[in-house]
């Protein structure tokens, strides 16, 4: 059953009904029992009364008897089932009897007894005088007694029966009203959309739902941030592409307007540069876009840092034949193996080396090393002895489209964002710092060692 309201109602109603039934049954039987005792009591009183009369009038009983015999109760009152009696002597002689008295020997066992016969059942009380000389028998029809007892029990539980439907109605109304804040909350949430992710109001929210509302508000915040990030990224990306495209366009028009071949050739060369730059930017954007939806590494494998570094270095040297800086690594042959994605880590390392090449002056020295980290993890670091990054910008290096220094160099501003994302997928992080001894270190940290094969 999925409705909170119906679950509550069902639970409470069933409990109430069960208790009601229990109480009713209990009251009923109790009332019945008490009624019987009441009637037994009156039987006893009447019996003794009659005995007293008999004892004092036994020789004169004739007239009294005939009068007594006409004693009847009110026929229509259910609480006055007629008392039949027989008055007799110790030897069994019957001196007087009421009209409806059952045909029983007056010498029955003293005390109460139930005589069950086909033509009627009777509650009988036999009373003996102290000296044994006189006997009185009073009896009531059990059927009529039962009727009286039933009436008592019925009247006792009548209020309960009336109250119970009212109670159930009240319960229903209360439950519905109590759950009303949830309906309001549902309407509030339904009113939210991608454009409206305002936090839900905490007013009028019951304590029990408070944590839920707080969690939803936190979710809204995360979603809003993600949407915002995406909007900004798309806007930034488009924006970043405009300048390279404007450059290409202007150079093209200059090429058209040029008056001499040298000018034209130069402009065409610039166009090619511009296209290359735009291409690189688009590649970086695509890479970043592909990494964005991933939550974990698609296929982590153990990989050898030494061969990764050597391979990446070889690519760098091949792509930059006219290097003015020296690039080398200091990884020992026993360099650790780590868990990760070789392609992605290669891209990350490549980005770091490219940055170092771009932002250090000619003649600088760039070194790749492995450093140990706490917790048994390792960092793969690219150190250079260049000018470094101003401290206030270091914290923002991993952001998209933020460049570390003067934007004279042709970076896209995305390289480190990609590195950050790759390290995030590896469960690590990108970390950068200016070195006290002068220079800069950009590190891929938090790499997990692979178990030795």
């Amino acid at each position: 059953m999925r409705s909170l309201r119906w679950r509550l109602l069902a639970a409470v109603s069933v409990a109430v009904l069960l208790l009601w039934l229990l109480t009713a049954w209990f009251s009923y039987t109790k009332a019945q029992h008490e009624a019987e005792e009441l009637m037994d009591g009156s039987l006893a009183q009447t019996g003794r009364l009659l005995l007293a009369i008999t004892q004092h009038n036994d020789d004169d009983l004739g007239k009294l008897a005939s009068r007594l015999a006409t004693v009847r109760g009110a026929a229509d009152n259910v609480y006055e089932p007629p008392l039949e009696f027989q008055l007799g002597l110790g030897d069994g002689t019957i001196l007087a009897r009421s009209i409806g008295a059952p045909d029983l020997p007056v010498l029955g066992v003293p005390g109460y007894s139930d005589i069950l016969r086909k033509d009627g059942s009777w509650r009988v009380l036999n009373v003996v005088s102290g000296d044994g000389r006189h006997r009185v028998q009073v009896s009531q029809s059990i059927g009529l007694r039962d009727r009286a007892a039933l009436e008592v029990a019925g009247q006792t539980i009548l209020p309960l029966a009336i109250i119970t439907p009212v109670l159930l109605l009240l319960i229903y109304v209360s439950v519905v009203k109590a759950l009303d804040p949830l309906n309001r909350l549902a309407r509030d949430v339904a009113a939210r959309s991608a454009d409206n992710l305002a936090a839900l109001s905490r007013e009028d929210v019951p304590n029990e739902v408070g944590p839920l509302v707080a969690a939803i508000n936190r979710l809204f915040l995360r979603v809003a941030r993600a949407l915002d990030y995406e909007r900004r990224f798309t806007a930034d990306a488009a924006h970043e592409l405009r300048t390279p495209l404007a450059a290409i366009k202007v150079q093209t028009q200059v090429a058209r307007l040029s008056r001499d071949r040298a000018q034209t050739a130069r402009a065409l060369g610039q166009i090619e540069c511009g296209v290359d730059r735009a291409t690189r930017l688009v590649e970086q954007l695509l890479r970043l876009a592909r990494l964005d939806p991933l939550n974990v590494l698609p296929d982590p494998q153990p990989l050898d840092l030494l061969s990764l570094t050597e391979g990446t270095l070889a690519n760098v040297l091949a792509a930059n034949p006219a290097l003015t800086q020296t690039v080398r690594h200091e990884l020992p042959p026993g360099a650790p193996r780590v868990c990760g994605d070789a392609d992605l880590l290669g891209i990350a390392l490549r980005n770091l080396i490219d940055n170092a090449l771009r932002y250090t002056p000619a003649g600088s020295s760039i070194v790749i090393r492995v450093e140990d980290e706490e917790g048994g993890r390792v960092c793969l670091c690219v150190r250079d002895d260049g000018p470094g990054v101003p401290d206030e910008l270091i914290a923002r290096l991993g952001e998209r489209f933020v460049r570390g220094r003067d934007t004279l160099a042709e970076g896209s501003g995305l390289g480190l964002a990609i590195v950050s994302r790759i390290m995030q997928l590896h469960g690590g992080r990108f970390s950068a710092r200016n070195l006290a001894t002068g220079g800069f270190a950009a590190c891929l940290c938090g790499l997990v060692r692979a178990e030795p094969v």
Binding site: R242, T243, P244, A246, V250, V254, R277, L408
Partner: protein, 220 residues
């Protein structure tokens, strides 16, 4: 005509400079806001092309600072941002015109001409004096209907004089208008170009005012 170009992107700046030089402007190219303010302070320009997306001090800040310092150089703003807020922001900060990237070089040149025309107070796009007509959009010069051939510097010099009718232009002012940083100037070259212009347009077309400079000869 000397133009200040403020653009941090190497390729784009190079392209704009080349394009403007083809249009006979002398172009000073700086790559950040601080240098731009410094340049505006130390030289007078016919116009300034300002990219808003500069590193460090951005274009809007440069514009506001220059305007509050009293600089009245006409400014055409270049930007990659094309939202309504950006346009309004740029114009309200003191820009005279606005172009979004990527743009057409021809459009940039035309808007520049319009800016310069506006500030020199001439309503007509074509500059004229005593039968000599100079059309900035075609760069053709005619004297009484006949085409006159001028070198780039001669053209620039003529344009400068025609743009300041009635004013005396000193040699320093003319040099500043003709040459960007890094251009080689000989100390005599202004006189040489004046001489060439007189030969082509008439000796009394340009009047020498001793001790002050040159000006257009009186209408007559």
């Amino acid at each position: 005509m000397r133009i200040l170009l403020v653009e941090d992107d190497a390729l784009l700046g190079d392209g704009i400079r080349a394009g403007l030089e083809l249009d006979a402007y002398a172009v000073d190219w700086v790559r950040n806001g601080e240098q731009a303010l410094h340049a505006l302070d130390s030289h007078s320009y016919e116009a300034c092309i300002l990219d808003l997306g500069l590193p460090g001090k951005d274009g809007i800040a440069v514009l506001k600072e220059a305007r509050s310092a009293g600089d009245r150089t006409p400014v055409l703003v270049l930007t990659a941002r094309d939202t309504r807020e950006d346009k309004i922001g740029g114009l309200d900060a003191g820009a005279d015109d606005y172009l979004t990237k990527p743009f057409d070089l021809g459009e940039l040149q035309a808007r520049l001409r319009a800016l310069i025309r506006r500030t020199s107070g001439t309503a007509r796009p074509v500059l004229e004096h005593r039968g000599v007509v100079l059309d900035p959009s075609t760069k053709r010069v005619t004297a009484d209907g006949c085409e006159v051939t001028l070198s780039a510097r001669e053209y620039a010099l003529l344009q400068d004089l025609l743009s300041h009718p009635g004013h005396i232009r000193s040699r320093a002012q003319l040099e500043e208008s003709l040459y960007a940083w890094g251009d080689e100037t000989g100390s005599n070259t202004v006189e040489v170009y004046i001489h060439h212009l007189r030969k082509k347009l008439g000796a009394d077309f340009i009047r020498t005012v001793r001790g002050f400079g040159y000006q257009l000869g009186v209408e007559g």
